[in-house]
Amino acid sequence: MTAALQSGARTRRRAVGAWATIGLFMLPALSLYVLFVLLPIAQAVRFSFFKWNGLAPLTEFVGLANYERALADPVFIGAVSHNVLIVVLSLALQIPFALGLALMLNRRFRGRAALRLVFFAPYVIAEVITGVVWSLLLQPGGLAEGALEAFGLGSLYHPWLADPSTVMLALFVIISWKYFGFHMILLLAGLQGIPRELDEAAAMDGASRRQAIRYVTLPLLGPTLRVSVFLSIIGALQLFDLVWVTTGGGPVNASNTMATYMFDWGFRRFQLGYGSAVAVILFILALVVALAYQRFVMRRDIEGAVTIYGG
């Protein structure tokens, strides 16, 4: 009895000691995290309840008016829909395309390394440079028009970035060009982790190449695919640099994203209270999507279980 009590107390003491040690080791990282992540978020939330131009003292409390204003502004709703459009298009086109390339480049053939390099190169280029280069390519008299004319297809040219109805599609092409290489490399790494014996076994059992991909490769690639999808969604929600440089959110707000809208109102029109409210909305949206995705889609991956029967 006494021994048991003593042992319990010792365990508890040891546990307390362990927590103290953990706390001590975490302190530097934790304080940085609080100082540079949590506090700024709290600040933004606080600012979002005020009407504030960044100069005057923070006195004009407006409650939730900034949030109401954002959610009632068709330009902001338009910006949200543009983000959603990019998410959908990325998942429907960009990732399958990257997967196809990864499957292709996972086979042995001459020039494979060179192709990998070529496909990955756009990802290494800075977003700002990508934006400038593509706007030069697509502008009237640019390379795109010249190339189409050289093939006698000049009539197909259209100033895509200048037309509100095509600007988002043009931006999607640029975004895909920039990021497909990244997803391709990610998936390629996943593919190389799949033992070749499994493919051979499938072939022995009489599976066609298509069947082998469908029933062996894809299920085993599940964890990588889910990470790829996750990064793609978050990237699309936070989209800023490329759009800002290429179109500035125009013409007539046809290519605004939540982030460009926030930047415009916060730092060009100096309505920092309103801009903060938009930032908080963007943050909550991204957080909810991220948590839900991790909870429902990536749960097994995070627990470390091997997924066998597809996503």
């Binding site: 960044g54 005057a56 502008q139 009237p140 640019g142 100033p159 200048a162 007539v252 100096f270």
Partner: protein, 442 residues
């Protein structure tokens, strides 16, 4: 919008390459620490004083001229030390915002007047210098002076004022058989048709930046309603007058002629494929722009030399049946505002910076800075800049650009609303109503 300010006064601008150039002179003492025990009079005292001065003329020759003037002043006033901070335009805005939030504005700093300055004044960050400048304010162009007032009180002094007008390619106009620049709006529309018939793009426009398009609407509203209607709208925020709808209708008549270069909605003012580049490389016949246009055009030619064609300038045409005088105009420029804790010597130093001598030296540089000191206009010799100055002299009324005269937030709404006319997504009535509504809620 920023590009416009970057271009101001930086002839042959290579500002993009310059980046933040702080001149290495970080302020030694913050204004609150500077000795302020001197009696609050205009007369300089013998006690040592430091003046923190921020300007954005970060390219020579302007940068050197400011340095020379500061040196000359401190040589004559040994008790005054001037701490110069030279910043690139965007870096200046960022750094100033930080100082403003810390309630420690510099003693003397770059200002464009108007709504942006009024916000600083309302936050109590500026010094009322009305009484200090009373004895010499008449040496400054009154229109320019007014842009640095809030509620009739003076908070800054301008050293540069330009005007927006049409820069045109005389060779292309000749080719289309247009011998005299259009004097009325109908004549302008007619000129557009003639140029189009000749296969020439009549007008270059940087639609991506929005503010170049705003100039047309603003000018038409000024011509339709006159200076009182415009001044009243800016001052009271009541934009419901009929002249603002009329401006949209007249602008729509122009847009319907499709006078702009292909893809103009995505074209910037400055940069490849932009408005200045289209004009500079003779792909368009005219553009509505301020006095910095020749400099930016030069920067947008392949060899960075002056444009090869005959460049001309004409004021915005009059509008038939409109109440506005054809000489009134939109303009703006640069000046200096005085920070709340500035020592009294600051105003004396400012007086020196806009003295006839200093203004003449600025004018002689022909750098795009058009001096506001009365009598210094003659120092400008560049023919293009002279035509702007001549018209500025004729103007009874020069209204600060709408997006500068109003708060940054309302300015953004104005630019956005007007852009819908160019894209064909908004009607003249909607544009006027959007601006009117935004002005009421802000």
């Amino acid at each position: 919008m920023s590009t416009r300010w970057r271009s101001v006064g930086i002839l042959g601008a290579v500002a993009l390459l310059v980046g933040a150039c702080t001149g290495g002179a970080s302020p030694v003492a913050s204004p609150s620490e500077a000795p302020t025990s001197v009696a609050p009079s205009v007369a300089p005292s013998a006690e040592p004083v430091e003046i923190d001065w921020w300007h954005i003329q970060n390219n020579d020759p302007g940068k050197q001229l400011w340095q020379d003037l500061a040196d000359e002043y401190t040589a004559a006033h040994p008790n005054v030390k001037v701490n110069l901070t030279v910043l690139e335009n965007e870096a200046f805005k960022t750094k100033l915002t930080t100082e403003m939030q810390a309630k420690t504005p510099p003693d003397l700093f770059q200002s464009w007047g108007g709504g942006g300055m009024a916000e600083q004044q309302k936050a109590g960050l500026l010094k009322d210098i009305t009484a200090d400048v009373a004895s010499w304010k008449d040496t400054i162009n009154p229109g320019a002076l007014g842009m640095y007032q809030v509620d009739g009180k003076q908070y800054g002094i301008p050293f540069d004022l330009g005007m927006v007008g049409f820069w045109y390619n005389k060779d292309l106009f000749d080719k289309a058989g247009i011998t005299t620049p259009p004097a009325t709006w109908a004549e302008l529309l007619d000129a557009v048709k003639k140029l189009t018939a000749e296969g020439i793009t009549p007008i270059a426009l940087g639609g991506k930046d929005k503010w170049p398009g705003m100039f047309y609407w603003a000018y038409l509203a000024l011509r339709a309603g006159g200076k009182d209607a415009m001044a009243n709208a800016v001052a009271t925020g009541d934009w419901s007058g009929t002249s603002f709808v009329e401006a949209g209708k007249q602008l729509k008549a122009l847009v319907d002629l499709e006078p702009f270069q292909e893809g103009f909605l995505a074209a910037p003012w400055d940069g490849a494929g932009g408005q200045a580049a289209s004009m500079a490389n003779e792909k368009a016949a005219m553009q509505l722009m301020g006095q910095w246009a020749p400099g930016t055009m030069q920067a947008n030619t392949p060899d960075k030399q002056k444009v090869k064609f005959n460049l001309g300038w004409f004021p915005f045409p009059s509008l038939e049946g409109g109440a506005g005088a054809p000489t009134d105009g939109f303009g703006g420029g640069n000046g200096f505002a005085v920070g709340k804790d500035a020592p009294p010597e600051t105003v004396d130093f400012l007086k020196f910076l806009v003295s006839s001598d200093a203004a003449n030296r600025w004018g002689a540089l022909n750098s795009g800075i058009l001096p506001t000191t009365v009598g210094a206009e003659t120092s400008v010799t560049d023919p293009d800049l002279k035509s702007v100055l001549e018209n500025r002299a004729k103007a009874e009324y020069v209204q600060l650009y709408l997006d500068q005269a109003t708060t940054p937030a309302l300015g953004g709404v104005i630019n956005d609303a007007i852009q819908t006319l160019y894209a064909g997504t908004g009607t003249p009535e909607q544009v006027a109503a959007t601006i009117s509504d935004a002005a009421k809620t802000q």
